[in-house]
């Protein structure tokens, strides 16, 4: 069904090629590589080549003007002592660890309400889905900047109840929260994946549970949640990988500087400033590889933990 399940099933299914496959090999090799040619060129020139290059650069000092100068582990030891980088990690972790579960919880909740043949489902689904299409745009980030500004929409509404709200994005204690809220706002696409998953749960399970007198809550805990767990897992992995790379919203809302007082300085934003603001390409490469390791570690932990909570029907 998904790239993730495909990958994990590939690792399980290892066997010698059948005779038929071997015969086919001879027949298709040339045609196959011709069809794959654009992708192969891209893989080498746009993906793997630059990856190796950036790994090399991460051990150098490089400002685009002079040739890269080998500095060994300097970039990495520098990262250990870089307080702004530590702060950016804290900001990013908070964003991921708060934003992703919150977004998925809302997505699941609305999907549950929408399930079970409610009238007007396509209409509701469109309404909830639209923000996730627009959420990544600069335009919505601009809107957010206004809404959570000192005299923005939120505070105007609060004023009607006699409350004076803070300047949400100009106050370091609430600025990150406003951006997390923007992430939660885009819960539409995981919601659609949840809806698709809910449709796959055979109705007979619920019928059997009803015969046994199960309550709604019991049905949720004992049927819906276990049956949906592969989808929850899939969403979790994808959203975590995506959220670590979040950039546009923080960039626009903070005016490109990750402010106020670095409270929205995402790791990617700091990387951008180092690489493309100050042209410290070596340091930026080291940061990029560090990000890859973090994302890889999170994904690995996710996969290991999934053995304990993800339930596969087959």
């Amino acid at each position: 069904m998904s790239a993730i399940s495909e990958l994990s099933s590939m690792s399980r299914r290892k066997g010698p090629a059948t005779a038929e496959e071997k015969r086919a090999n001879r027949r298709d090799n040339k045609a196959a590589y011709i069809f794959l040619l654009p992708w192969l060129i891209g893989l080498v020139a746009i993906t793997v080549g630059p990856m190796i290059m950036s790994l090399y650069l991460s051990f150098t000092d490089y400002n685009l003007l002079q040739p890269p100068e080998w500095t060994g582990l300097d970039n990495f030891t520098r990262m250990l002592g870089d307080a702004r980088l530590h702060n950016s990690l804290r900001v990013t972790f908070t964003y991921v660890l708060v934003g992703v579960p919150l977004q998925l919880a809302v997505a699941l909740l609305i999907a549950l309400v929408l399930d079970k043949g409610l009238r007007g489902l396509p209409f509701y689904r469109s309404i909830f889905y639209l923000p996730s299409l627009l959420g990544g745009s600069v335009a919505v980030a601009i809107l957010w900047k206004q809404i959570f500004g000192t005299s923005g929409l939120v505070n105007q509404v609060l004023a009607m109840f006699g409350i004076t709200g803070p300047g949400w994005i100009s106050d370091p204690s609430t600025s990150l929260g406003s951006i997390i809220l923007l992430h939660v706002w885009t819960f539409g696409s995981p919601m659609i994946i949840f809806l698709a998953g809910l449709r796959q749960i055979p109705n007979m399970y619920y019928e059997a549970a009803e015969v046994d007198g199960a309550t709604t809550l019991q049905k949720f805990w004992r049927i819906t949640l276990p049956m949906l767990s592969p989808i929850i897992f899939f969403n979790l992995v994808l959203q975590i990988i995506g959220s670590f790379q979040s950039f546009t919203q923080a960039f626009i809302v903070s005016g490109g500087n990750g402010g106020p007082s670095d409270s929205t300085m995402f790791f990617t934003l700091y990387l951008y400033q180092k690489g493309f603001g100050q042209f410290e390409m070596g340091y930026a490469s080291a940061m990029a590889w560090f990000l890859l390791v973090i994302i890889g570690a999170f994904t690995a932990i996710n996969f290991i933990a999934s053995k304990y909570w993800v339930f596969y029907d087959d």
Binding site: M1, A3, L7, A24, R27, N29, A32, F35, L36, P38, W39, G42, I46, T47, G49, M53, S54, L57, I110, L114, K116, G117, L118, G120, Y124, I127, F128, Y129, P131, L133, L134, G136, S137, V138, A139, V140, I142, L143, Q146, S151, G152, Q156, V157, S189, I192, I193, A196, G197, R199, Q200, G242, Q245, F251, I252, Y272, F276, M287, A288, L291, L292
Partner: protein, 322 residues
């Protein structure tokens, strides 16, 4: 050709006006599972069930209203005099002010249409690139046997999850050495080389659902792979191509990071970087025109959403595009 079209390709788009349209594109409802549940509900339509449904509608309407309110308010505010944006949280319009749109349109170095045209060039190039390169790769992965297939397929799946940042620095160095900074090539050429592996995967999934008997029949008739690909597979995978087109459109139209890095000359700005230049250059006095241009920039995405929604939802539900 007509024969082929009546064959039950799994996710084939129903011809317009087909009776099964709604049911087929309901998200992941194999065998009309959703329908069944619905009818069961109406049979046992007691008082409490009705109350429950009403409560659900109430929750959904309130939640949906909160979700969509900021967007509606931005549209209304863009039609208001500037000073009201910071005073009027409601949606009521006393008069229609088009000044924000005319002001915003000409607020930057070039008229806003110039940036939209730039975006359109990048979008069209990206769509063509993705359609050609991804469908070719997908055909090889789904239909051809070749050495190293499993390895390459695994690598392809892994690249879907690879963070862009790991390759952006050397990629930038590469493209700047070729002299491609401030051209659209860095944004289009990677698509011509199938680096949006997600679409390769989407198409592989789709082609796997097309019966191989069709290929074999064509092969017996003497068709080679290019012919089978062009005449049999491509016409049958139109829904997957449509999904790819729509997602590529939206993602490329919204793409900020790539444009921010590669396009520094205002002449070459795409819409997202133009908007960013706008928001940076203006003081708080011109939110109206900023909103107006934001809406102009969202309009194409909204239209694609209106007309391509079923492909979008199908695409997400089957592959989990973000």
């Amino acid at each position: 050709m007509t024969e082929l079209q009546t064959l039950p390709a799994p996710e084939k788009a129903p011809s317009s006006g087909g009776k099964s349209r709604g049911a087929k594109f309901r998200v992941g409802s194999p065998k009309g599972g959703g329908r069944k549940r619905e009818s069961r509900g109406t049979l046992a339509f007691s008082r409490s069930a009705r109350l429950k449904a009403m409560a659900k509608h109430a929750v959904l309407i309130i939640a949906g209203g909160i979700m969509i309110y900021p967007l509606l308010w931005m549209v209304v505010s863009s039609l208001r005099p500037n000073e009201l944006i910071f005073r009027e949280p409601g949606l009521w319009l006393n008069s229609l002010e088009m000044g924000n749109y005319t002001d915003g349109w000409s607020a930057l170095t070039h008229p806003f249409g110039h940036y939209m045209l730039n975006s359109a060039v990048v979008v069209i190039g990206s769509i063509l690139g993705n359609l050609i390169s991804c469908s070719m790769a997908a055909y090889a992965f789904a239909r051809l046997q070749f050495s190293g297939k499993k390895l390459f397929f695994g690598i392809m799946l892994l690249t879907i999850m690879l963070p862009f940042h790991v390759i952006i620095v050397p990629q930038y160095i590469l493209f700047s050495q070729i002299g491609w900074v401030n051209t659209f090539w860095p944004l289009i050429v990677p698509k011509l080389l199938a680096t949006d592996a997600f679409f390769v995967f989407l198409m592989v999934q789709f082609i796997r659902g097309i019966p191989t008997e069709l290929d074999e029949a064509a092969r017996i008739d003497g068709a080679g792979h290019p012919r089978i690909f062009l005449r049999v597979i491509l016409p049958l995978m139109v829904p997957a191509l449509a999904t790819t087109t729509i997602f590529t459109f939206i993602w490329t139209w919204n793409d900020f990071f790539g444009a921010l890095i590669y396009l520094t000359d205002p002449e070459m700005f795409t819409v997202p970087v133009a908007l960013r230049a706008f928001v940076d250059s203006q003081s708080a006095t011109s939110w109206g025109s900023l909103f107006a241009m934001s809406i102009v920039s969202l309009l194409p995405v909204f239209l694609v959403f209106l007309f391509g929604q079923r492909f979008l939802i199908k695409g997400i539900a089957t592959t989990g595009i973000k």
